[in-house]
């Protein structure tokens, strides 16, 4: 299935990727090529076939509600591009999610 330039732009926005015009064109072509290969799956009858989202046949991996030590705040922010007074700092947030 071919993917349109508009769809490429929509995906890039959802994924927070700033793409150049060349990248958009290239992805448009490459993703269309890849997706048309994926379209072979349509031939496979899967009505009533359960989905596999993990192959581990276990359930209920629980943790008891017992505190474990947190990281020192210095370690929490050690890798931060910008931090002040123990806070992470980002460009001003104007919008809500």
């Amino acid at each position: 299935m071919a993917i349109t330039q508009a769809e490429v732009e929509h995906m890039a926005r959802l994924a927070r990727l700033d793409l150049s015009e060349q990248e958009k064109a290239l992805f448009c072509e490459q993703l269309s090529h890849i997706l048309s290969y994926m379209d072979q799956l349509r031939q496979v009858p899967t009505d009533g076939v359960p989905h596999t989202s993990t192959v581990i046949e276990q359930s209920n991996a629980f943790r008891d509600d017992i505190p474990t030590p947190s990281l020192p705040v210095q370690a929490v922010i050690a890798n931060a591009p910008e931090a002040v007074d123990g806070f992470f700092v980002v460009p001003k947030i104007l919008e809500n999610p």
Binding site: T54, P67, T68, V73, V76, V90, P91
Partner: protein, 482 residues
């Protein structure tokens, strides 16, 4: 034309676990920024979530208390979006299959009963907090809250007034507090409410365009914001306008709702099953075990208070609103089996002190035993009711035993006949004119004499005995001066 409001409510209740939903960091409120964080809850590369069993139990308990069906096979899903307070770029939540479904909660507004249907309640993790400071070009992010377990509880659009929403929220909060599932603190954000509201011509069965309200962090604001929004929407519709589907924020300063700035793009959260977590299989045995551990809930308890203790409905509802207070009341009644007197004291003196300091009954410096002893002292006639009321604040402040305090302050009531007789005679001697008046038939003067004797005794004379003695003396003695 008249209009009616149709309201549904989404509540995010922080579950009262010691640790976060997927890691062992603590959930205590108000600590220094980013001090309750680990690789898991700040989404460090390579970290993995492990589900807190207690959070699942609390969700099931809440579901059972809300008459929900508990889903036996659960999966967590990822809700994908970007926001600075969301460390992983996705929130672990439940999507198609919430743990609790199809429940209900009964509320009463102005004596009118209503059943509010609960559509669903699901488990998810909380986000961190973004802090904006004035004109700064930056915002700050604190992940202490990130990963705290939330139960999102969603009603059907069954509510029709701000008062009903208020009643629903209070009833829901009381239940969650009874279950020890949530501390219900709206101001601290542990109990957050987002109503959605639409307005339609009265009697219509079509639903209008709904607006979501956010930034409501007190019960007062809920009522104010809804009242404002109903008026706003009604005005728009009445003047032929249209309501836009949007999210509006309550501005408590200006007491209005304003449109929230939001990403222009349509939301596409791309939910999919989280491959890092296994299915949660809930057995019937587990549900049964949790059902049996449920405490008596507020509505049932209030009913029992009316029936067993013969309390007025008002008293019963006040006393059972919090589990702490109801427990306090019952403990006190066991020691002093006069429910109405205990109720008066708990709702009056005790609550006045507790509320003034925002202290739960559980931590009252005056224990149920202590209050019972005080009431016992009144009952025995050791102190007067008036004195009991007067010393209550001191009792509360000092935490002393009532008997000790009464002794220390020399407040024991004077019931000794000889002492009282002397007092009465002295008062009669000082007020011969009033004695005459009484004897001529003006019995109302008796009150004057009682007051004088009480005053002379420093309030300690037993008023019953004084009364009795005065009547006898005034009647039997010969008129003065004759």
């Amino acid at each position: 034309m008249t209009y009616e409001a149709v309201i549904g409510v989404e509540v995010h209740a922080q579950l009262r676990t010691a640790t976060k939903l997927f890691c062992g960091c603590t959930t205590t409120f108000g600590l220094a920024p980013n001090t309750q964080c680990c690789p898991v809850c700040i989404g460090m590369p390579g970290s993995l979530p492990v589900l807190n069993k207690r959070a699942v139990e609390l969700a099931i308990r809440a579901g059972l208390a809300l008459n929900c069906t508990i889903r036996l096979s659960n999966r967590f899903a990822r809700k994908n979006y970007f926001y600075p307070d969301l460390p992983k770029g996705y929130q672990i939540s439940q999507y198609e299959a919430p743990i609790c479904e199809s429940g209900s909660l009964d509320i009463t507004t102005n004596g009118h009963a209503k059943t509010v249907r609960i559509r669903r309640a699901h488990l998810e993790e909380d986000a961190g907090k973004n802090l904006h400071e004035g004109d700064a070009a930056t915002s700050r992010v604190d992940f202490n809250r990130a990963g705290t377990p939330l139960l999102e509880i969603v009603t059907e659009p069954d509510l029709s007034s701000p008062e009903e929403v208020d009643a629903y929220l209070r009833a829901l909060r009381d239940i969650l507090k009874y279950l020890d599932a949530c501390d219900g603190n709206m101001e601290q954000g542990s109990f957050r409410c987002e109503p959605n509201i639409s307005v339609r011509p009265a009697g219509s069965s079509d639903l209008g365009t709904k607006v979501e309200l956010k930034n409501i962090n007190s019960f007062r604001f809920v009522k104010q914001a809804l009242a404002y929004e109903i008026a706003r929407q009604t005005k728009v519709l009445a003047s032929g306008g249209v309501i836009h589907q949007e999210t509006r924020l309550w501005d408590p300063e200006r007491e209005v709702t304003v449109v929230m700035r939001s990403k222009e793009e349509a939301h596409d959260y791309r939910y999919f099953p989280d491959p890092d977590l296994l299915p949660v299989e809930i057995s019937q045995e587990w549900i049964q075990e949790l059902r049996q551990s449920l405490p008596e809930l507020p509505a049932a308890r209030a009913k029992r208070f009316v029936h067993d203790y013969r309390l007025p409905e008002y008293d019963a509802s006040v006393l059972t609103a919090s589990k702490d207070l109801a427990d306090y009341f019952e403990a006190c009644v066991r020691l002093f089996p006069n429910p109405k007197i205990v109720s008066n004291w708990v709702m009056g003196e005790l609550l006045r002190e507790l509320n003034a300091r925002g202290i739960p009954a559980q931590r009252s410096p005056v224990s149920p035993e202590c209050l019972a002893k005080l009431l016992q002292l009144v009952d025995e006639g050791t102190i007067s009711l008036k004195i009991a009321r007067e010393i209550f604040p001191e009792l509360y402040a000092s935490g002393k035993d009532p008997e000790t305090l009464v002794h220390e302050k020399g407040l024991t009531q004077i019931s000794d006949a000889q002492v009282l007789e002397q007092l009465v005679e002295e008062v009669m001697r000082q007020h011969p004119a009033q004695v005459d008046q009484y004897r001529r038939g003006k019995e109302a003067v008796l009150g004057f004499f009682v007051g004088q004797v009480m005053k002379a005794s420093g309030g300690k004379a037993n008023p019953g005995k004084v009364n009795e003695l005065l009547r006898r003396k005034l009647a039997s003695d010969t008129p003065s001066g004759s």
